[in-house]
Subunit: 332 residues, 2 copies
């Protein structure tokens, strides 16, 4: 009798665990969730062909549109706009110069019409000229005050809960999780640990050059940000950035646009069990809907074309439908 009770208790404990211990509670059952769990099983099962040594387990995540909201504009661009008043205060000669003049009016209609060279000029001025330490302080300060116009919440609260669960699930299975973003590497490093549990040294992003300065008068040293690109971490720049910072081919990669295509390609052509996934923004109610894949509205920010959709099918990359695969969107 004792043995039977004992066995029953193990059995019910097991069923209980299976039921309540779901590492991905915000994911609906379906092909996306199944693919993730199967990938983890295959790469951590020592007896299987797909086994990956713990030190080689690398998963890379795009940020904008994959981990957090990228509409109506990339958060880092909002940051650049937000820095313009301080910039004009420090350099009054810019007050009457375009595009700074338009940004200072606060006229959203006019701002939304700024051209790409305008945006590049604003980024160039607001993302360089200061030391890396000063830049971090400026980003931290802005993040603690700025709010997304639609949700009236800090940007670092508009993080996708299912992706946080996915990152944690992979880490719990020995994976090192990296952010591989087209955004500024030093920008994302400011909040990556607190927001995603990803330490600064695990952020790969677009990088500008720096100048090293030692000040003999004060005995201090700093790296000054220079407006010259060292690595554009987008498209082919993503595998290049991964090689530069990590030096290993990832086993899993997650993105949402054509800028992530080469990262997924590089990842999934590595042999063995691999996972490539693309987030499709098809939920206008809970977040945004844009493609233009699958008849979704076109978008200038975060384009997911029908070509990319077809390529994903062909290459075995899983498309995550925010509408169908995710129970919850935001972490807070």
């Amino acid at each position: 009798m004792i043995a039977l009770t004992f066995m029953l208790s193990i059995l019910s404990g097991w069923t209980f665990q299976q039921k309540i211990f779901d590492p991905l509670p915000s994911w609906n059952d379906g092909p996306a969730k199944t693919a993730i769990k199967e990938f983890v099983r295959a790469t951590t099962d020592k007896s299987g062909k797909g086994y990956v040594q713990p030190e080689d387990r690398i998963a890379t995540f795009d940020q904008d549109g994959t981990l957090w909201v990228e509409h109506p504009l990339y958060t880092q661009l909002m940051y650049c706009f937000g820095r313009v008043p301080d910039l004009v205060k420090a350099k009054p000669e810019l007050k009457d110069v375009e595009p700074f003049k338009t940004v200072m009016t606060g006229d959203r209609e006019a701002i939304s019409k700024l051209t790409l060279p305008d945006l590049e000029k604003i980024a160039g001025y607001t993302l360089s000229g200061m030391s890396e330490d000063q830049f971090s302080a400026q980003v931290k300060d802005w993040l603690s005050n700025a709010k997304d116009p639609r949700w009236q919440k800090p940007y670092t609260e508009l993080i996708y809960q299912p992706m946080l669960e996915l990152m944690k699930y992979l880490r719990d299975n020995g994976y090192k999780t990296y952010i591989v973003t087209g955004g500024g590497q030093d920008f994302v490093r400011v909040y990556s640990n607190q927001t995603y549990g990803v330490p600064p040294e695990q952020v790969v992003g677009s990088v500008g050059e720096t100048t090293y300065v030692y000040d003999t008068a004060t005995g201090t040293s700093s790296l000054i940000k220079v407006p010259k690109m060292l690595l554009n971490d987008d498209k082919v720049g993503k595998p290049q950035g991964i090689q530069l910072i990590i030096g290993k081919r990832p086993n899993a990669a997650f993105g949402n646009t054509a800028g992530d295509q080469q990262m997924l390609e590089y990842t999934t052509t590595g042999g063995g069990a691999r996972l490539g996934m693309l987030v499709l923004h098809d939920d206008a109610t809970r977040e945004y809907a844009y493609g233009p894949a699958q008849g979704l509205p076109d978008s200038k920010i975060g384009t997911f074309s029908q070509d990319l959709y077809d390529l994903a099918k062909k290459r075995g990359w899983i498309v995550i439908s925010m509408k169908n695969d995710w129970k919850t969107i935001f972490s807070k």
Copy 2:
């Protein structure tokens, strides 16, 4: 009685531990060993002003002349020479072209007279044109066969035992140890884990550009090494490389030449408890003696000038005398 015996056993256990547990057994007592232990104590003592959060504990190590032998020539240059026969086999048109012709003669006297542009040409040809995966395989193959001419041992066995102990001691105290080398980042990454316990992603080094290639015929992807410098990780390039790969200012840095000056400067001007150390090669019997600091013979490889020696004294950087501070030189 029981209580007293118990207390005595704790006490004797403590004394015992203090006596036999020396984390740096290959270091003689002296200012270098004391400085290391004091640095670790200060940065890990939660009640002290110098306490550093575990996630911010970063220690950076130069490689050539700091972790392993750099005389008579940098190991990576020996590798480049070693690759020339295969290169000439693949490109027979180089057979009669200098400097390849000279290298193919095997005439050490003539090879030692090659100029810097000659060496750069050899490096350019032997370190590019292949994929990163092919390069890793070539380095691995070479390392398993090549031997240092003086010791007739594999290069990866000519590692300084006291530095291995130092790296382990720092890691045991929560430090992340990085190699920050003027040598090729992808070269060092091939053996860093096995040799130093430093995973590839914790190697910062000089980096060339790569081209991403997807081969539609085979469905494979690779990064091809291009002979164009992206980062020269020497002098001011060391703080720049540290910012690029790590994104944090180190708490401790170790080097042996003027190429490490800015890394030590950047590290030790960060405020709080900091440690900067320079290895002086003053042991001709057990290794090599070169400076020309302190009247040691001059050297083209790994120069430690009297200026650097004086600067070290002025800035509080500790000079490690291989002769006096190290009981043992090599790990094997």
